[in-house]
């Protein structure tokens, strides 16, 4: 029997959350005034949790490393937010949203959590509209919906290509209301460096004021970590430069189990790396694959000529092109799920067919769509015998209307006109489904320490569907945590203020200070980025889209060796007691160097291909699916929760078996 208790309530799936809420202990309003909660991270999950907890009456302190809560990386989410409103009358329901999410996650998520997510999704939209979030609307004045990958209904609400921004500003405005009331005290430009436990319970944090360098103690009755994902362990990702795993990793070292660290989503349509100077990657929305055709040259010599600039893609005839997704997956073509599209691009580039100077790019071509739309428009506008030129112009206008802002962004970055020549794209790390293990109440294995949003392992299984991250962040923050944390805090009404003048705080602060001093004491000559880039290369080459046992074993050793080198030789200029961005980065990279090793260990353990995680040893051997990912439900239908035991490679595995009572496990086929 596992020591992990997921605390899933009894009863039928659809009644679990309601039943659970009815049994939860409440804290009366007068007592809430005597209870403090720390929220680390102010993105969708943290911002919404902080606002709601403060509104309920708790005293909230928020922490973010940015200069304002409004800059959390939720702001960069483009596409939309799912909700089972069924406004389109196209057959959507809570069950269907639940079903799509579990299936999309390749059957590696927890049924009860996902159902709850679907259940509260509608309320999120009501809430955001009430807050004044300007969603896209139809001419009749009602909310508009669009469709996203992996589903058969239109349930995605959006605000142009800036849905994350608008939702985050909504949560930020709710926070501002509570800041104005004095119920939230914001600590911006502060970074959490450790969690403090008293009698086994999370009772505070140690944070560094990034402007002065001062180390501070903050106490509370509960601590919420809403600190996002760890995609930056790959160095290059679509994450913000500052996105990091430190808060989650510090909690892990203090006893919070880390779940499914190897589950990473690699998004197929990003702008390719242009050179060694590259600091981050930019996503191009998934929606482009509705109209773009993906291809590489059929002949190696053509690919080489293109790389050397001797040939242009537009010079290749149809016969000389390999539309490899349409060839391999005739049923879904260019619209296969993210994981499949990403692996196929890598396969072609590894075989030498890449089309940019680094050899790591494929084409996303809109020429056929421009032709098709051009002819269509000519017909509907009754233009007889349109010239080629006219057709192109009409077609380009349709494309501009649909994707104009993306095309403009591409042109700014790459300096090529995607209406004239195909876009170049390549997969990039985008989202991490793994994170701190939490029970149904979102509590980690440290009592009183909760994790919300991308920081927990939660609801997406081995692969996240588009427009589901925003939904989960706000569901956790607005509608789940405020209930479940109250249940826990009801035991604290007589505790009184937690003192920071205790041996536990002394010890935690001492360890944080010593660690910073040790970091500053590096004797060598390499910058933090030097190590971060090296780590990223190991992760990308050996723990990326396609993994095998040998590569993963090598990665574990290489990361451990790199970590040792880092601690001995990293060079950090400046001082401890002042603003020092290099020191900030160093602390984060030090934690990535531990997480990366656990990541590889987890991937090694999971000898199956599921979701974005492709294990070369686990492929279909025969039949129509030959060569495709082979999930192994018999042996791997569990959540891997790792307990810290010193070195990352010594971490102990605890398994939470996943039980599916409401959904049938099937093979995903896109042929």
């Amino acid at each position: 029997m596992s020591i992990l208790d997921s605390k899933i309530p009894e009863g039928p799936l659809a009644d679990k959350w309601t039943n659970h809420k009815n049994k939860i202990d409440l804290v009366n309003p007068a007592n809430k005034r005597n209870i403090d909660v720390i929220v680390v991270g102010t993105g969708l999950a943290g911002g919404s949790a902080a606002a709601t907890l403060a509104e309920l009456g708790y005293n909230v302190k928020t922490f973010c490393y940015q200069d304002s809560p409004r800059r959390a990386h939720s702001i960069a989410a483009q596409g939309g937010i799912n909700a089972a409103k069924n406004y389109q009358g196209d057959g959507d329901s809570n069950y269907r949203l639940f079903y799509d999410t579990v299936k999309g996650g390749d059957y590696r998520s927890r049924e009860a959590n996902v159902y709850r997510l679907a259940e509260v999704s509608g309320n999120i939209i009501d809430q955001c509209v009430a807050q004044g979030v300007p969603f896209a609307r139809e001419y009749g004045g009602l909310l508009d919906n669009r469709s996203f990958g992996g589903v058969l209904v239109s349930r995605t609400f959006y605000a142009k290509g800036q849905t994350g921004q608008q939702l985050l500003l909504g949560a930020y405005s709710a926070m501002n209301r509570q800041i104005n009331r004095g119920k939230i005290k914001p600590y911006n430009r502060h970074e959490m460096l450790d969690i403090v436990k008293v009698d086994g319970k999370a009772r505070g944090i140690i944070a560094r004021d990034l402007v002065t360098g001062a180390i501070e103690r903050h106490s509370a009755h509960a601590v919420v970590l809403a600190t996002g994902g760890y995609g930056n362990v790959f160095f290059l990702s679509t994450n913000a430069m500052g996105s990091n795993v430190t808060a989650a990793w510090r909690a892990h070292r203090r006893g919070a189990y880390f779940a499914n660290p190897c589950y990473t989503q690699i998004h197929p349509t990003c702008i390719p790396v242009s050179g060694d100077h590259q600091s981050k990657l930019t996503l191009m929305s998934e929606s482009l694959r509705n109209d773009g055709r993906i291809w590489v040259p059929k002949k190696l010599e053509d690919a080489q000529a293109i790389r050397e600039g001797k040939k242009k893609p537009t010079e290749l005839s149809e016969e000389e092109r390999d539309y490899y997704l349409e060839r391999r997956y005739p049923a879904f073509g260019n619209l296969v799920p993210r994981d499949v599209a990403s692996r196929a691009a890598k396969e072609r580039c590894d075989a030498g067919f890449g089309v940019n100077k680094t050899g790591e790019a494929v084409y996303l071509d809109f020429a056929a769509a421009i032709q098709r739309y051009g002819k269509e428009t000519a017909l509907t506008e009754h233009i007889s015998n349109p010239s080629e030129e006219e057709i192109k112009k009409l077609g380009a206008a349709v494309i501009e209307n649909k994707y104009g802002n993306l095309f403009q962004m591409y042109q700014k970055i790459v300096d090529e006109n995607p209406y004239e020549t195909p876009m170049m794209i390549y997969p990039a790390v985008h989202y991490t489904m793994g994170g701190l293990w939490v029970d149904y109440n979102l509590q980690t294995t440290i009592e009183g320490c909760y994790a919300a949003g991308e920081a927990n392992f939660s609801d997406h299984g081995a692969n996240r569907l588009g427009a589901s991250a925003l939904m989960q962040g706000l569901a956790d923050g607005y509608f789940v945590l405020p209930y479940t944390i109250g249940d826990y805090l009801s035991n604290d009404i007589r505790t009184g203020e937690i003192s920071t003048e205790t041996p536990e705080f002394d010890q935690a602060e001492k360890e944080v200070t010593e660690r910073i001093q040790k970091l500053m004491g590096g004797a060598g000559n390499h910058s933090v980025d030097y190590y971060h880039k090296k780590l990223g290369k190991i992760m990308w080459n050996k723990c990326g889209m396609s993994r095998n046992a040998q590569g993963l074993s090598e990665a574990i050793d290489e990361i451990a060796a790199l970590r040792k080198d880092f601690w001995e030789n990293v060079k950090i200029p400046g001082t401890i007691n002042s603003m020092n961005p290099e020191l900030e980065k160093a602390g984060r990279v030090a934690d990535f160097l531990e997480l990366g090793e656990l990541f590889a260990k987890d991937a090694l353990d999971r000898n199956e291909s599921c979701g974005g995680h492709f294990r070369e040893e686990s492929v279909e051997q025969s039949g129509e699916q030959k060569g495709e990912a082979l999930r192994d439900d018999e042996n791997f239908k569990y959540v891997s929760a790792w307990e810290y035991k010193g070195e990352p490679k010594d971490a102990q595995l605890h398994k939470e078996e996943l039980i599916f009572k409401n959904i049938e496990l099937k093979t995903r086929s896109y042929k």
């Binding site: 004044g132 004045g141 913000a240």
Partner: protein
């Protein structure tokens, strides 16, 4: 390409700052402006010098963190982009580039090119919200239809990223464009009507308290705004303010 950078260096808020000159070589057109600064910083670290501090985070033009005054223009010579979206192909071999922080009394320098924009947060805290509880027990999202044009105009105002380029561009360091964008977002929606009068009065009062200058309608803010926030928002805020004052 080879460039000469003239960069504002300032140890902390109370220290005296000055311009320093740094030659840099090997800059490629495909680099973003911030990646060029990454290269400079890597060189400085390798030499044992302090790297240049600047704000940045998402590096895709949406978080609003980056805030450089480049050759006298907020976010540099290109239009409708943030500093992180500016690419070095906009410059020529041999150029001298002057890099300063956003200058305004209400944006004190933290260090080097990093400024303190918490005054913007305080303007929002004074009224940039609708006072509804986040409990989820509200009316259905489609209960109140909203004219599409109003919703779209509201969105365009709400697209502000709070970077402060409007303030840095303004000869008076006025925050009217920033404040009016939030006032407009709510003024255009039925959800914002209930508190419209107190909102505009409180936000403007806070804006003045923070030490931002007055608006003299020169329009530099609109030109330099990376998100194309329109001057119409300022006109709308003035109308809102007037009508709120009369009611008051």
């Amino acid at each position: 390409m080879k460039l000469t950078l003239k960069i504002w260096r300032q140890e902390n808020a109370s220290a005296k700052g000055s311009m320093q000159t740094y030659p840099i070589d090997g800059v490629e057109g495909d680099m973003s402006f911030l990646e060029m600064l990454d290269v400079l910083n890597e060189n400085l670290i390798n030499k044992g010098d302090d790297p240049v501090v600047f704000d940045h985070d998402c590096r895709e033009g949406i978080c609003g963190a980056c805030s450089l005054q480049i050759n006298g223009e907020p976010h540099g010579p290109d239009r409708l982009i943030t500093t992180c979206q500016l690419h070095m192909r906009m410059f020529n071999d041999g150029d001298t580039i002057v890099i300063e922080p956003f200058r305004a009394k209400a944006f004190p320098v933290v260090k080097d090119l990093m400024v303190d924009r918490s005054s913007f947060d305080r303007i929002q805290q004074a009224g940039g919200y609708v006072s509804v509880n986040t409990s989820g027990n509200t009316i259905d999202a489609n209960a109140i239809p909203i004219n599409k044009h109003d919703a779209d105009t509201s969105f365009e105002a709400a697209a502000c990223i709070g970077c402060g380029a409007c303030v840095a561009a303004c000869k008076n360091a006025s925050a009217m464009l920033f404040t009016s964008a939030k006032v407009s977002q709510f003024a255009l929606l039925p959800q914002g009507q209930v508190e419209a009068a107190t909102r505009v009065l409180n936000m403007v009062e806070q804006m003045d308290k923070e030490g931002f200058g007055n608006c003299t309608n020169t329009g530099a803010c609109e030109v330099e705004c990376p998100k194309g926030i329109s001057l119409e928002n300022i006109a709308r805020m003035n109308r809102e303010y007037l009508s709120a004052s009369i009611k008051g």
